[in-house]
């Protein structure tokens, strides 16, 4: 079997549907999409759905996760095996677990790679905070996965394709969860994850007062300031939300400039996504230089202010 006979697709985020459809078309013969309303149904057909099933409009006090029984009934009625593809959103992870339990199916979240191997789905996902990737094979007839974004090519829309969706009857869950209210989330004050340039400070900076020289450089570059774990957690010189690494945040900036960071694997896991890594450290044997595109071996207190001046010129 080179493809699953049936792939089911559901996305709570409309923006994720094209990529899920790309994945589904690649992995399945027959692609069935669960949609919310006519507009999404039309989009699903343009993206290559063989069939669509419409949940209709969802009452404000109901959560999508409570449609698990509705989905399961539809999926089971169609065939005794299938792949169910969802985006790796928090909502869809909750839905995935519910589907897995009701379909006696294995579930893998946050898949970074999805392939068929000997008729079974093998999903790769990050483990140990990013130190490694686990490859997990789902051995049950139904398989459920939530997919990270950027893994598959997006399906292109073909405006000639149309179809009409089958309406689904809501199957009330045994223990409904009532949604009292919803509000749009306030964004965080610092979002290192979105910064194009990041200057990051390690314990090698010496003391909290010296961080000001890193700040001056970062300002001159138009960069955000990050740090390593010891700076945030042991020394508490900087906020925890700026800490890059295994239990901190993972970033993918164009440039990561590490100042006085030794470069342990637990830190580099957070920074390795950078297109270019530059490092300044007084120890030429520091592991950071193994990960760096450009390195400078020397005294931060001399180099950083000089760089700041050079950039102003």
């Amino acid at each position: 079997m080179s493809k699953f006979s049936t792939v089911w697709v559901f996305s709570d985020a409309a923006s994720r549907l094209p990529e899920l459809m790309g994945a589904a078309r690649q992995l399945g013969e027959d692609v069935r999409v669960i949609v919310q309303g006519n507009e999404q149904s039309a989009q699903a057909f343009r993206l290559g759905a063989d069939a669509a099933y419409d949940l209709g409009s969802i009452p404000a006090d109901r959560i999508i996760e409570d449609y698990a029984d509705t989905l399961v009934q539809t999926i089971k009625n169609h065939a005794p095996n299938a792949l169910v593809l969802l985006p790796a959103t928090r909502r869809c992870k909750a839905l995935a677990a519910r589907l897995g339990a009701r379909l006696t199916a294995g579930v893998v979240n946050d898949a970074n790679e999805l392939v068929l191997q000997d008729g079974h789905i093998v999903a790769t996902h990050m483990v140990y905070g990013g130190l490694a990737f686990g490859k997990e094979q789902i051995t049950t007839p139904y398989a459920v996965t939530t997919l990270n974004s950027g893994v598959f090519e997006v399906a292109q829309e073909d405006s000639a394709r149309t179809g009409s969706a089958t309406s689904l009857e809501f199957v009330a869950p045994k223990n409904p969860i009532i949604c009292v209210s919803r509000k749009v989330k306030q964004s965080n004050s610092v979002d290192l994850g979105k910064a194009r340039l990041v200057v990051s400070v390690g314990r090698g900076i010496g003391n909290q007062a010296n961080i000001s020289i890193a700040e001056a450089l970062s300002n001159a570059m138009g960069a955000e300031l990050g740090c390593s774990r010891p700076v945030a957690e042991n020394e508490k010189w900087m906020d925890r939300e700026r800490y890059v690494g295994i239990s901190g945040i993972m970033i993918k900036p164009e440039l990561y400039l590490a100042l006085g960071i030794s470069g342990q694997i637990q830190h580099m896991v957070g920074a390795n996504g950078a297109q270019i890594i530059m490092a300044i450290n007084k120890d030429k044997n520091a592991p950071i230089f193994q990960y760096a595109d450009y390195g400078l071996v020397g005294d931060l207190m001399k180099i950083v202010p000089a760089l700041t001046e050079a950039l102003k010129r």
Binding site: K93, G106, A132, G134, C179, K185, M278, F289, L296, L307
Partner: protein
């Protein structure tokens, strides 16, 4: 009211090294409570502070590491009144569906009104155990809970943070709630709490005590491998003289664009 706070012992990630073949070396790692589960334990303790009628049971399923008295004291020093562990060799490698089945049987045996879990464990981060536990017990379960608004004898109201919105949800009890890391900042236990922990009751069960047959997995973990290192230019300039700094600055300027 009885609240179960679930936790998992995982290898201390700061001690993990990567072997040359990309496999992980866990030999020098200590077992510690998974970070997100500390949030669940703390959330249970916060509820108890508001209502002294609450009895907190810490609960874990796993391998022989759970027999370690130091580890048991560690979890009990964080506030739970009692500890229940289901431990036997091999369970440290249990996958989510198996862990959930064991915890469900243990929870049923001990009784509960509310179960708190972390959103995922810091090792496998499968983010399923709490939700599957709810399914196995036939009660409501939800993930991503960033605040507990209220708790009564029959209901819990929570705030749940999603990617772009925040929901307020009401769940009927009994229920399972998986909390996110932003729900609280777990406290470091006081010396008094650490000393008191040794006196708290511990029950150690095996899966046979729970009448559980063989819980076979739905998935197989084929491999755990560190990613290939991205090739880097590794242009290293030695020295902090004017010339060297100027050369480095030139590279920096090009990258900034």
């Amino acid at each position: 009211m009885k609240i179960i706070a679930c936790y998992k012992l995982i290898p201390e990630e700061q001690d993990i090294t990567v072997n040359s073949d990309g496999t992980l070396n866990l030999n020098k790692t200590d077992a510690k409570i998974s970070q997100f589960d500390l949030n669940a334990i703390e959330a249970a303790c916060a509820l108890k502070q508001q209502n002294s009628d609450i009895h907190i049971v810490a609960m874990s399923s796993g391998g022989e590491a759970l027999a370690n008295p130091k580890g048991r004291k560690d979890v009990l020093s964080r506030g739970p009144d009692e500890l229940i562990v289901v431990s036997e060799p091999g369970l440290e490698n249990a996958l989510p569906h198996q862990t959930a089945a064991i915890l469900a049987a243990a929870a049923q045996k001990s009784g509960f009104d509310l179960i708190l879990c972390g959103d995922g464990s810091a090792d496998l981060y499968a983010q399923q155990v709490g939700l599957l536990l709810g399914e196995a017990l036939g009660v409501s379960a939800i993930n991503g809970v960033s605040r507990i608004i209220s708790l009564s004898d029959t209901q819990i109201q929570v705030e749940r943070t999603l990617e772009d919105e925040v929901e307020t949800l009401t769940l009927n009890l009994p229920a399972v709630v998986a909390v996110s890391t932003d729900i609280n900042a777990p406290q470091i236990p006081s010396m008094k709490a650490i000393l008191g922990a040794a006196k708290k009751p511990v029950q150690a069960w095996q899966s046979a005590d729970l009448g559980l047959g063989d819980v076979s997995g739905y998935t197989t973990l084929l491999s755990v491998l560190a990613p290939q290192q991205k090739a880097r230019a590794r242009v290293i300039i030695e020295g902090d003289g004017e010339e060297q700094i100027a050369e480095f600055a030139e590279h920096l300027r090009k990258v900034i664009g």
